[in-house]
Amino acid sequence: MKFVTPDMLPALPEIFVFSMACVILVIDLFLSERTRVVSWWLAQATLAGAALLSLKLAVADPVVTFGGMFVADRLADLLKLGTYVITFFVFAYSRDYLRDRGIFRGEYFVLGLFGVVGMMVMASASHFLTLYLGLELLSLALYAMIAFQRDSGTATEAAMKYFVLGAIASGMLLYGMSMLYGVTGSLEIAAVSRAIGKMSPDNIILIFGLVFVIAGLAFKVGAVPFHMWVPDVYHGAPTAVALYVGTAPKLAAFALFLRLLVSGLEPLAESWQSMLVIIAVLSMAIGNLVAIAQTNIKRMLAYSSISHMGFFLLGILSAESNGYSSSLFYILVYAAMSAGAFGMIILLSRAGFEAERLEDFKGLNQRSPWHAFLMLLLMLSMAGVPPTVGFYAKLLVIQAVIKVGMIPLAVAAVLFAVIGAYYYLRVIKLMYFDDAEDRTPIRAGRDMQLLIGFNALVLVGIMPWVGALMELCRQAIKTLS
């Protein structure tokens, strides 16, 4: 047997980010409290560098390397670029927040970058093992980040819950994969797909494997009935970590769905379609209804995220490329909205004060009309009200289910969107119609102000180019085998 050096080039961005994370880890040891910002700069530079590398290496046709374990295609490129941008914003929003709480440590950025590597590996995985490797790399980084503020009881509790449940979910996923391996004799996704194509779709072990895989996936995106961890983690974790958990990993979860269900198990589409319908409807229902009862905005956003995952699944469950690209568009938009919303919470928080009750948004229009306006845009976008980009995202996924003839599902989805609109409107109501209790001026660094302004305004400003973004998503899905 001859050892062949694999083509490393397509994986260069992963290698780069990983090496930089290690370098920052070492450099950080030699930094004092005052110069710690160097780690931050290095982390941001790493993301920028990775983005350049990914753009440079972007390929039109898929390139498979590492013996079929790793694939570089347009979907992976798009998801990675999305991950860099979102993480860049996350790090930028987090800096002052962490500093004010005395947890401005290099570990946050190092773990964050390791998580990014995990997401990148997931985006590029073409093998069950790579997929699982990426997922665990991400999950372990997340467990540690959530427990990062170690003096906080709620954070530790959230981390414990997430760890235990996450380990069970990973186990289920792995168990499902092992059944698929047992039936098909391969771990390589393309080979699995070919093997299943030749089998009867009623094969009981296949179906069992599929159920476990779906359960694992649903846990990772936080869809009902595997959603219990979401509100606790969002609520318990420091806001800067909740911001990280609630944004870029959703892109990686999309990769997980596409690589496993579409590239691997599309011959079983009929089976997973009906499972996802139930999960999607339940997520939209429970997410939207329970969000109404929340008084903590982080918990509200957690339930809102559950409902968004329901909408996101609508595109996937249509089981055709039009739907996949709709879901891709949805998840990109959701990550941007979620980053903005958590960014606003961070902006309103200050040393010794967490702006995490809904009441803390009271009278924001009196305190700062500009920030109230930004939050208004974010909330409208989450509710899916035109002309914000959240509307186009919902339009696309609903269009996808109507296209495959599931009109009752589309009607249910829009009705849940109306229910959801209520609690987003409530935030707007608090900001605009109520009087401020707390009149402390809002202070934030200039870069933060600039970025969050950009983040919110782009949600409406993108309107003329929204077609181009959709086209990007379509192209990314097209190259998927």
Partner: protein, 492 residues
């Protein structure tokens, strides 16, 4: 250049103008905000005049068309164009916005920039609704408009404003999302979001009926038709004067416009099939809501219910399928825009002085405010359909039209002449005549020059349309004939 993009210009000028007004900032610079918005509103109005002047009334084809690629993957295009029906509504919109800006001049002193910005943006969005020829573009304008209105009612409204505005938003949002599902379905059937292409799309009867019901959910809420009208009195009562004017004068017309642009031409067979339902709902609105208006003690509520009743006339006119009916309905839409706008402004004039909308708090106003009383007299008469005012033309045409279909429709519809006169004139009597009710009324001062300006503009419009309706009817003839022909051609 300007001539080719005139529709885009009148749509986006107020929207970007509104954003510019926002930047005048805090209330220390309130006068800048006022002046800038007046300039933008007047400029937009002037720019809509060439639309009328250059309109070719001989054709039903869309005019001033603009067509640009937008979202190519789904054949969603930036398509604008107007026919005789939308032309009048656009003029009404730009005219009303000028009045709203003037009427707020002295009255709004809190967050002035935001107030004016919201109205200007809403103007642009409403013009967009009336000129959009693409389903998604239409929907974007249609929904986006809820946001400024939500803020207007919630921020400058009365004591119960938060309840009213959330009810308003969710009610209308619920109606619209079903319309969106229908739009997407039509796209799947026709391969395009082009509204004119939908006009020609072949659809089976069951499909048509389902789509009709989805459209009905959106349009009936907006019109509003009985029994989904309950948001309107709340919203009207709590909204500031300007908000009530825009709600009554234009927003309600959007629902009616939806029937004309979507339901009738796209779904002719379902329209005929369900005409009985529409006529029944319209007649209930006319008779029952007319009676409800009679017992109101709050002037704004009374006018709000009167709006529902008058809009019942509009929908009745549309679903009796003859020229008089549809033209009468459209005339009624425009005329109601003037009259209800005027009545709400009149209530605003009184409210600004006494801070009460209750009829019982007034009495004997005529002695203190003779000029104002004369204006209100004219508008009250117009609201009851006095010949010579615009209110008469539309009602007469619709009643004539319904006579051709069924005498009893006409009889039921004609009761509005009695009820309308009863509730309007009774309110007028209690507020204006009689002994001076209390000290506050005794201290009233007559209309200021600013108020006289906007009231006389509306008075002119009401009289002009009543005495010489030809210019209004002329531009819509070709479009209405074409619409009627589409409605009469079965798609089965």
């Amino acid at each position: 250049m300007v001539a080719e993009h005139i529709l885009s210009l009148v749509t986006w000028l107020p929207i970007f103008g509104g954003i510019a007004v926002l930047f005048t900032g805090s209330d220390r610079h309130a006068d800048y905000a006022r002046q800038l918005s007046l300039v933008i509103a007047v400029l937009t109005f002037i720019l809509t005049l060439p639309l009328y002047a250059n309109f070719n009334s001989a054709t039903h084809a869309m005019q001033f068309v603009e067509d640009h690629a937008w979202i190519e993957a789904f054949d969603i295009r930036y398509r604008l164009g107007i026919d005789g029906i939308s032309l009048l509504l656009i003029l009404l919109t730009s005219f009303s916005t000028v009045l709203v800006v003037i009427s707020a001049w002295k009255v709004i002193d809190r967050k002035v920039a935001q107030y004016h910005a919201a109205f200007l943006m809403m103007e642009g969005l409403m013009i967009g609704v009336f000129s959009a020829l693409d389903g998604i573009l239409f929907y974007v304008f249609w929904e986006a408009m809820l946001v400024p209105m939500f803020i207007i009612i919630g921020l400058w409204g009365g004591p119960n404003r938060v309840y009213a505005t959330i009810k308003f938003f969710l009610y209308t949002f619920l109606g619209s999302v079903l319309m969106l599902v229908a739009f997407i379905y039509l796209y799947q059937q026709s391969g395009s979001f082009d509204i004119l292409a939908w006009h020609g799309a072949k659809l089976g009867l069951t499909t048509q009926i389902l789509i009709f019901l989805a459209f009905l959910a959106a349009f009936a809420v907006k019109v509003p038709m009985w029994p989904v009208h309950t948001w309107l009195p709340d919203a009207h009562v709590e909204a500031p004067t300007g908000g009530s004017v825009i709600l009554a004068a234009i927003m309600l017309k959007m629902g009616a416009y939806g029937f004309l642009r979507f339901s009738l031409p796209i779904l002719p067979d379902a329209s005929h099939e369900l005409a009985w339902l529409m006529i029944a709902l319209s007649l209930i609105a006319i008779v029952y809501i007319g009676l409800v208006a009679l017992v109101q003690e709050d002037m704004k509520k009374l006018i709000a219910y009167s709006s529902v009743a008058h809009m019942g006339f509009v929908t009745l006119g549309f679903f009796i399928f003859n020229t008089q009916g549809i033209e009468g309905g459209i005339v009624q839409m425009i005329s109601h825009g003037f009259i209800s706008g005027a009545l709400f402004l009149c209530v605003g004039v009184l409210y600004d002085r006494l801070h009460s909308r209750m009829i019982k708090d007034y009495g004997g106003v005529a002695g203190r405010m003779p000029v104002f009383a004369a204006f209100l007299m004219l508008f009250a008469m117009a609201n009851s359909g006095l010949p010579g005012t615009s209110g008469f033309v539309g009602e007469l045409l619709v009643i004539l039209g319904s006579f051709q279909v069924n005498v009893w429709y006409a009889v039921a519809a004609a009761t509005t002449l009695v009820f309308g006169a009863a509730y309007t004139l009774w309110m007028y009597k209690r507020v204006i005549f009689g002994a001076v009710a209390n000290d506050k009324v005794a201290g009233l001062t007559d209309a200021t020059p600013r108020e006289i300006v906007f009231l006389s503009l509306l008075a002119l419009a009401v009289l002009a349309m009543g005495l010489w309706p030809y210019p209004f009817l002329d531009v819509m003839h070709a479009s209405v004939d074409h619409l009627l022909q589409q409605t009469m051609t079965s798609k089965l």
